[in-house]
Symmetry: C3
Subunit: 256 residues, 3 copies
């Protein structure tokens, strides 16, 4: 078990492994986020797939290396697809990430997300408002740890500083840039990258931290040249594709 | 009531208010346009949401500050969502924009759009062919005024020169660039920006003109550096995010 | 009937005709690819439409100049829309392209694709794994020719080198760049461009080769300035919009 001091090295290693191994990531994600998520995964070295068809999603998930379940658009087809995909992931032993987008805005979505939490995601990736809606309390460090322990998953809480915990270990990550909040689907892309890291790393705590470190650093690099949120959204894809181990180690801002 | 001579100042003010107040805009829009529309709204300072789920769209609309209804892809789920959303907007007193995309190509879509016109949109934003399909006559200045008066809404007619009228007042706006017609969802983004301006301005005539002025100026600025329609689509987002009041006042081309 | 030596000239001519005539291309494509496909078609001079509504897709196809059927996301609505669209294309005499995305990953999708092959597409555009899944054999030159002859269509097989055949004639095209595989929907955009060329050229072999030559050259030009897959995806749209006949003739790499 690594401590947070090792996380930059771990992140650097995982970024390289994604490019070397090209894992398949199946994504149930909203139509707003699909193209951007796919391009981010391709930039990281992965092979994304996105089908929602009830007939075939089980097969796609079984042959993928990890699964993303994003609740961004909450239609019936996606809910049915999610049930099948999560069952297929469990049967095939594939790790999955739950991103409960906007559960703070919709009670029915929050109820659905709570059911999914009980079906064994490796990582729950969400923002402060979403945590509060799901957990029923402020997203403090202790509350995140309690939730992670109670539900046997990693909580990856995004914000000005990200917090990742498996209940025992905690890492706070200070990488990233304010422009990341001005690009739609950036959070979704972060969750997809978390699924990608899970595909090449058995330690969900390490995988979650690595994904947030890598995306945050790519955001910082992109912001150095971007003229606004439009060019930033493009530059962060370029930066992620070019990210190498020394850069990750040099720029990671991780604390326990 | 302002006259067209005041519109550049009004537009400058509204652009600033969007960035300062960050209104929530719920968008029923086609899957082609969703991501680009969301990024344009984020660049303007707004918080977009896009869900279509029948269970939750009413709640999203009630908590939003304005609604966009775009008919770009005309599936059953979107039509059902539209009915619920428009009812929720009426109940909560939220203004909404109707963008009857491609009604000139489909009789069933035109019939659906006519029903929606009767349900109280603040603004009808459309191009010449779409106006002709809905109104049954050429989109002259007088026809647009008549239609606006008869249906108690603002007509925002896009073209080489845009025309905005509430039946009484008329403004023509000569901002914009030919490359705007070479980017998919640019019209949809303009309608979304109109909804955004409605969220911070009670005068739908002024809000509509402001949105078209702002987007047109952003397009002109983007065209100064773009190498083609791909880089233009990105640069206009950057330009919109950076747009300030003096630039709007200096560059607005508005006539009565 | 032209030979492969004439194809660069033919491609140069078709690129110009798209810009001059602006054909309407109706696209049944997955939500991941819709926006990028539409922007690529706009850049090439075409007018894209994307509706899937059962009520209106027949009318859209009948008034379009060519149809694209892409199986990228395989939901029920798209399958129903496909049946109607293909019937409308047959009745109106419109040529269409079938892009059987990911048939190698899903037996039900492959079965659906085989049915569609029997309904008369002018072109079948696919990669090596997809060919193998459909045809049941390795995608050799001879196998592609046999398949094209047996099913009376053009096979356009993408890969490091593209191969196009109508059963008799064969062209191999060596244009393109490795970054094209790092952008989602690039293959879908290539299929859409093939449909566009079919709209202005009765010879499906020539149209298919022209589309792959044009997109490949645009990719090479984009790669000269791109900093990674994000900026490449944008630059290739700019390059396609700016592509002129002398560039096509000078850069085409076609062999029999």
């Amino acid at each position: 078990m690594r401590h947070s001091g090792d996380l930059p090295q771990a992140a650097a290693g995982l970024v390289g492994q994604l490019q070397a191994r090209g894992p398949r990531i199946h994504c149930i994600t909203n139509t707003v986020a699909q193209a951007y998520t796919a391009n981010m995964l391709l930039a990281a070295g992965c092979v994304p797939s996105m089908t929602l068809s009830a007939e075939e999603i089980g097969g796609f998930v079984a042959r993928a290396d990890a699964l993303l379940v994003n609740l961004g658009t909450f239609d019936l087809e996606r809910r049915e697809a999610t049930g099948i995909a999560v069952a297929a992931a469990a049967e095939a032993g594939r790790p999955w990430v739950l991103d409960p987008v906007f559960v703070d805005r919709s009670a029915s979505r929050a109820a659905f997300a709570r059911t999914l939490v009980g079906r064994g995601p490796a990582v729950l990736r969400l923002n402060h408002a979403e945590f509060q809606a799901l957990a029923g309390c402020e997203p403090t460090r202790a509350a995140a740890q309690d939730y992670a322990r109670a539900h046997r998953l990693v909580v990856a809480l995004s914000g000005a500083t990200d917090l990742v915990t498996d209940g025992g270990r905690v890492a706070t990550i200070a990488n990233g840039h304010a422009l990341m909040a001005k690009v739609t689907a950036m959070g979704c892309a972060g969750s997809a990258l978390t699924a990608a890291c899970l595909a090449v790393c058995d330690d969900a705590f390490e995988a979650s931290a690595a994904a947030l470190i890598a995306l945050g650093i790519a955001g910082e690099i992109a912001a150095e040249t971007a003229a606004g949120p439009g060019s930033f959204a493009i530059a962060i894809i370029d930066a992620l594709a070019a990210l190498d181990a020394p850069t990750v180690v040099a720029r990671a801002k991780v604390s326990p």
